[in-house]
Symmetry: C2
Subunit: 418 residues, 2 copies
Amino acid sequence: MSILIEDVLLDGDRKNIRVEGNRITSLDSDEGADTVIHGNGKAAIPGFVNTHTHAAMSLFRGYADDMPLQDWLSNKIWPLERHLKPEHIYWGTKLACLEMIKSGTTCFNDMYFFMEETAKAAEEMGIRAVLSEGFTDLLDPDAGKERFQSSISLVQSIRSMRNDMIVPALGPHAMYTVSPESLQMISEYAEKEDLLVHFHLSETEDEVNACIEEHGKRPVEFLEEIGFLNPRLVAAHSIWLNKEEIGLLSKHDVKVSHNPVSNMKLAVGKAIPYREMKEAGLLVSLGTDGCASNNTLDMFETVKFAALYQKAFTGDPTILPAQEAVALATENGARALGIDAGRISPGKLADIVLVDLRAPQLHPGHNLVSDLAYAANGSCVDTVICDGKILMQNRKIEGEDEILERANEAALDLVGNE
Amino acid sequence: MSILIEDVLLDGDRKNIRVEGNRITSLDSDEGADTVIHGNGKAAIPGFVNTHTHAAMSLFRGYADDMPLQDWLSNKIWPLERHLKPEHIYWGTKLACLEMIKSGTTCFNDMYFFMEETAKAAEEMGIRAVLSEGFTDLLDPDAGKERFQSSISLVQSIRSMRNDMIVPALGPHAMYTVSPESLQMISEYAEKEDLLVHFHLSETEDEVNACIEEHGKRPVEFLEEIGFLNPRLVAAHSIWLNKEEIGLLSKHDVKVSHNPVSNMKLAVGKAIPYREMKEAGLLVSLGTDGCASNNTLDMFETVKFAALYQKAFTGDPTILPAQEAVALATENGARALGIDAGRISPGKLADIVLVDLRAPQLHPGHNLVSDLAYAANGSCVDTVICDGKILMQNRKIEGEDEILERANEAALDLVGNE
C-alpha cells in the first residue's frame, strides 16, 4: 500500500510526501500511489506523541474539578476507580483514542488498569500506544512480588498480539505507592526484557518531603541509590527537583514528561525547571495527563500551555519558543518512547497529521510554527495517518457515533455504581 | 422575525427558547416561529463578551512571538502599526469577527486605529462592538487637545450609524502614553456624553514604578486623585495592584478586564489578584487582548487559561471554579459593557450560542459547565445568534473565503511596507 500526499506545506515548502507500507519514503515523489491525498491548503506535521496519560480516564471528564488534590484523589477519583471494570476501560480508551486522533495524536504512553482492554481499543483505533499496568504495592514488598505477576502477564499478553504499534511497558505508580524493593524488582525486569518504565516523579512538594523524612534523601537521589534511574525511565511531572536531581536525571538519560495543563489545574505549586533541564541536556516531552485533571487530550492545547506556563512562571517571554514547544510534543516525545517517528523525513514511520489551513485562527499565516503553537487547536486537524494507514480524513472516523454512545453508557454505569 | 430553538439543553434542562425581534421572550414556548432550530444534541449558552481586544491585530498573528515585551513593542509592533491603513483595519477586523463568531463571541470591546473601519466591519458581520480610538498624546496636553478631536469625531460617526449594536467609547491608551490633563479631559467628556472609557491599567511593574517616580503615588491612587475612576471605566489587565488600589477600584465600581493568555505570553510577572478583587466586590470580566499577544480570539480558551492561571499562581485548585470562570466571560462581560445580555432569560438581548455536544471532548458529559470551561474550544460552536439574527449555523458563515483571502492580502501588504 502506498500513499502520496501531493503539494502539501512542510517546513515552509510544498512537498509530495510518499508513504510505502508504514514508512515515509520520499518528500518529492512524482509517482502515482494507491491513495492520493490533495495537500493543497494543508500543512503536514508529525503526529503528536503524548508521553503521559491515562486514556480511559476520559470517562471521568468533568466528574470532579476545582478541588484540593488530596481531597479530589481520596474522595472522588480513587473511590470511582475501585468500581472500574474492563468494559469501562475499553470504551473509555475508545473515546480517548477518538479524541486523540481527532486532535492529531498518533502515539500515547498510558499507565492504568485492565490494560489488555486499552491494548485492544488502541489496536482497533489504529493508534500507537505504550501500555503499562499501574503498579502499586502500598509499600509492602511481599504484596509487590505477588502483584507484579499481573504486570508480567500484561507484557506477555501484549507481546502475543504481535502488533509493533502496541508496546508493553512497566508502570510503577510513584515513590509513595511502591516500595523500594518493588522499584528495584521492576527496574531489573525492565532491563532484562528491554521495557520502558512509566513513573510519576515529584509531582508535589509533599511527596518530596515525605521521601526526605522516610529516606533522608530527595527522591531522585534515593532512586539513583537503588538503581532505578536509566534511559528507559519516563518520569511524568518531575516538577519538584533541585539542581543536583536534574543533574542525576541527565546523567542517567531519564526522559521527562511535562504535563502543564494538569500541573496548573491541580495547582502543584510551580512549573518544571525547564531552563535548567534543557541546560542539563535532559530530554523533555509533553503529556496531557488523564482527562480528570486536564480535561482534554488535545496536544495543541498542551503545547500552548507549556510555552505560556514557562513564560509566566519565569517572567521570561523568550523561554520555550514556538518551534521548541512543538518539538517537545513531536520529536522529543518519539525519542522518549523509542518510536522511530516524530519527524517527517524519509525512513521515518509514517505518522503524519495534515492541518487544514482554512481555519480563521491560522490566518494570515505569517509563521506556521507560531500558528501551530499558539493559534491552532485540535479541530484544525483534517487528516491523520498512523503507521502508513489513514485513520481520519476530512475529520471523519468510522464508528464515531457508537463510541460516543457506548462511552457515555460506560460512564453512567461507572458513576451509578459509586 | 421570530426564532424558536427547540429542545435545547439550558442549565441542565431541555428548553424551547423563543426569540422575538432582538430579545429572548420565552424559555418554554410551544408556538411556531419564522425560523425553527432543532436544539437536540446542543446546549445553549450566552454569547461570550470579550472585554479587551484590538480586533484588527489579527493581521499581526504570528508576526512576532517569544520576544521581550519592550523589544517586541518597539521593534516589531509599533513599526508595523505606523504602516496601518484603513483597508488593513477593515479586513483585519473582518477576519477577527469571523474568528470570534466561529468561537462563540457576540460582543467585543476594541481600542485601536481607524475605528470607522472597525465599526463598518463589525456592522457587516452582525456582531456587537464597543469601539474607541486608541488615544495617546505622549504626555503633551496641548497635543492631546488637538488629537482628541478625532476621538470625538469617531463618537459622532458611530452615533450617526444609528445601530444600537455598535457603541462608541473613548480609549485613552495608558498612563505612560497619556498626560493627566488629557485623562481628565477624556473623563469629563465621557461623563457628559455617557461613554465607556477603555484603558490599559498596570499591566507591568515598570509602569507602576514609573508612575511612583513621576507622581509619588501608585497608578490607581493617582487616577483617583485626578477624578479618572468611575463605573464607566473598563481597565484592561489591572495586574500590579495593591490592596488599597483594589479598594479604590471597587469604591468607584471600575470594571476590570482580565487577559490571562496575553499576560502569560508576555510574561508580565504575575496573575491578577483575583481573590482580593472578588472579595472587594470588583466586577471582573475576560478579554483575549489582540492576536499579537495571544494569538487567538477564542474565549473558551481564555476561560480555561483564566481558571488555571489563578490555580497555578495561588497554589489553590479551588479558586475560580468552572461556573465562575464561564460567568466572567458572559454575564460579567455584558455587565462591564452595559449590554443587556450575558444570560439566557426572557427579556434579555438574544445573543445566544449553540454548542454542538457531539464533540468527543464533551463526552461523557458529567457536567456541562465543567466541559465548557475545561474541555470545549471554539470549534464546538455550531450556531451563533446575535441581536436576534442568525450569524452562523452549522459553522457556516457567508463570505468566509473572501474574508480569509482579503485578510491575507492585507497582512502581506502591511508587512511588505515595513
